[in-house]
Symmetry: C2
Subunit: 351 residues, 2 copies
């Protein structure tokens, strides 16, 4: 019998945001890998690609022309997962097993830059501030639509994440219901707020800053950290220090600080394996259902799949799908690695 | 305004097993695909591969030799995610945000056959019955160990699912806690059973057999269906008709019927895209915590990633990770496609 050592012994950690556990196997990073390798494109991209449906002036799938946009550009997704049609529907409560209801929604694509070859870490702070303003405008505009109660801003980056076009862009899916993960989060935030009159994430950020070992970046208004309960090897969260519940409530200073931490974090990611680091990221914030939501606290999740190198990812498969998420490196170790990486993008050194 | 048509209109469906919703976008299957294609090995495999660490007689990573096994063969995973060491641990309830506890477990590999080149659909019924007997023995042996309260039997098949070796094999992760997904399922099963005195899945199977349109295969003792709330394009469940709560309670007839439906379902899968169909599968059944568990009802989940062809999978990424799972084809359509596929393996026709 030995005493529990969280850095060495297999254990489970609890995620209070969604009330789920994760299995952590610190010793398992050593196992050899004989499995699938990802193909990562190392091709130099042109500033403008005549075949790209997101570049300025080009034609999209629906036959429409993109404008000659100069900063960001937003358009309606041509193959949206939801539609705006109002549907007549009688709730049939007899159906225990066949419960379904129509869902209204709008789905948009946000081009981050007219430049085909630039990703977030390679952009200027002013350009990222402009993306933040675009997100604010979309959150407001979509949120103001009567049937929209939730606005999900996210980015799939890299072909490993199902992204079919390297042109820097994200998406927004706005809809009438709270999506499952958001509802779970809201339930946790709400019960914490009702009990403590502070937001869960305000107290969590304080506890993390005190602990220190999972912090990746800190500035005046934001913290980037590997959450104690992270699932993905290099998963992070950007959390506002102030209990601000939506992006439209940022002060000017907060917007700039957010732009800076976004650039720094994504630069560190690229520097980790000297590759354009794939991830899915997205913002969790107050629903747009017209209620006040003091329990909500702005944060952004980054879920990157890579584990060992630019080509070896973590597979969330059998045990993870049927049992629970499992990780092979401690969050503290990942945070240490990310923290020590340079803020200067590797490509700018090569040039 | 139009009336809700579940076959045409975007909607959400509810999964009563884990209390989560899924977004269904029936119209979205039509969108073009320009993204990542998977590489699927079409290489003919030898019956015996001298470099395979699972083939009979060969040497494993830890230096040990596999026996000259003739049916199935079980060994302890050389790179297990959990360990058997007993760990001294004082629960520190002060930690709201840093909740962790040591986890004890055992992880085993189950080789399904000495033949390197055979997968489930290509095996004889007698061989699959033998795998079922092995699962029964492992469930009993592991379940009898004092610190083991849950035995997760699963298979990762194909390199897309992180499987590094085509030699037919599955895994068993047995541990002291109920994994997250199992705990969620148990909560639903329990509250249904307490209310109705029948198992949720007994009533669900009856309702599905009556509806008919999601059934893929039915025999005397088992049903294979695409659940109403399926997430993956061709996700299925095999459910026992009788409310049997664990694999060790199968009658001889049930074991044979289970072997048959396993062979049929995996054959249909292979025939879908004329490929060795990748998936993660696993059995959910009663925990081994010494309690009775009348609420549990044996079932097996199949989570296959492919969507359009042998090389184009569904990406569960940005919206799915941050919002909720989303599918592009209705479960009814998937069931119809699978139902109509032949039971005769495509490879046996070529020969
Ligand atoms: O089969 P392996 O090599 O143990 O590992 C595979 O299955 C495990 C259980 O689902 C996952 O944790 C790993 O990420 C995956 O690569
Ligand atoms: O960017 P696309 O082509 O809309 O699609 C991508 O992101 C969506 C939202 O996460 C997913 O549903 C798709 O599976 C993925 O391929």
């Amino acid at each position: 019998m030995k005493n529990f050592d969280i850095n060495e012994d297999p254990h489970r950690r609890f995620n209070p945001l969604i009330n789920e556990w994760v299995l952590v196997s610190p010793h398992r990073a050593k196992r050899p890998w004989q499995g699938q390798n990802e193909t990562i494109s190392t091709e130099e991209l042109p500033k403008y690609d005549p075949t790209c449906y997101l570049c300025p002036g080009n034609v999209r799938a629906n036959g429409m022309n993109n404008p000659q946009y100069e900063s960001s550009f937003v358009f309606e997704n041509d193959f949206a997962a939801m539609k705006q049609d109002e549907i007549i529907f009688e709730d049939d409560i007899k159906h225990t097993f066949f419960k379904a209801k129509p869902e209204q929604g709008i789905s948009r694509v946000v081009c981050f830059s007219p430049r085909h070859d630039l990703t977030l870490p390679e952009m200027e702070i002013a350009d990222i501030e402009n993306i933040i303003r675009t997100w604010q405008k979309e959150y407001t505009d979509l949120g103001n639509i009567k049937f929209i109660n939730h606005v999900q801003i996210f980015e799939n980056k890299g072909s490993v994440m199902g992204c079919s076009n390297p042109h820097p862009h994200g998406q927004i899916w706005a809809q009438s219901s709270l999506p499952t993960q958001v509802e779970k989060t809201q339930n946790s935030l709400k019960s914490y707020y009702d009990k403590n009159q502070t937001t869960l994430l305000e107290d969590y950020v304080k506890a993390e800053l005190k602990a220190g070992d999972r912090i990746v970046i800190e500035n005046d208004h934001f913290v980037a950290l590997v959450p104690f309960w992270a699932i993905w090897p290099y998963e992070t969260m950007i959390i506002s220090k102030r209990a601000v519940n939506k992006i439209t409530n940022f002060t000017e200073d907060e917007s700039t600080a957010f732009a800076k931490i976004l650039k720094q974090l994504t630069t560190k990611y690229d520097n980790l394996f000297n590759t354009s680091f794939p991830y899915s990221s997205g913002i969790h914030q107050s629903p747009t259902d017209g209620l006040i939501h003091p329990e909500w606290h702005f944060h952004m999740h980054f879920y990157p799949p890579l584990l060992r190198s630019a080509t070896v990812k973590k597979f969330m498969v059998g045990y993870e799908m049927l049992g629970e998420s499992q990780r092979d490196i401690t969050p503290e170790k990942s945070a240490e690695i990310l923290r020590q990486l340079s803020d200067v993008h590797y490509k700018s050194l090569v040039k």
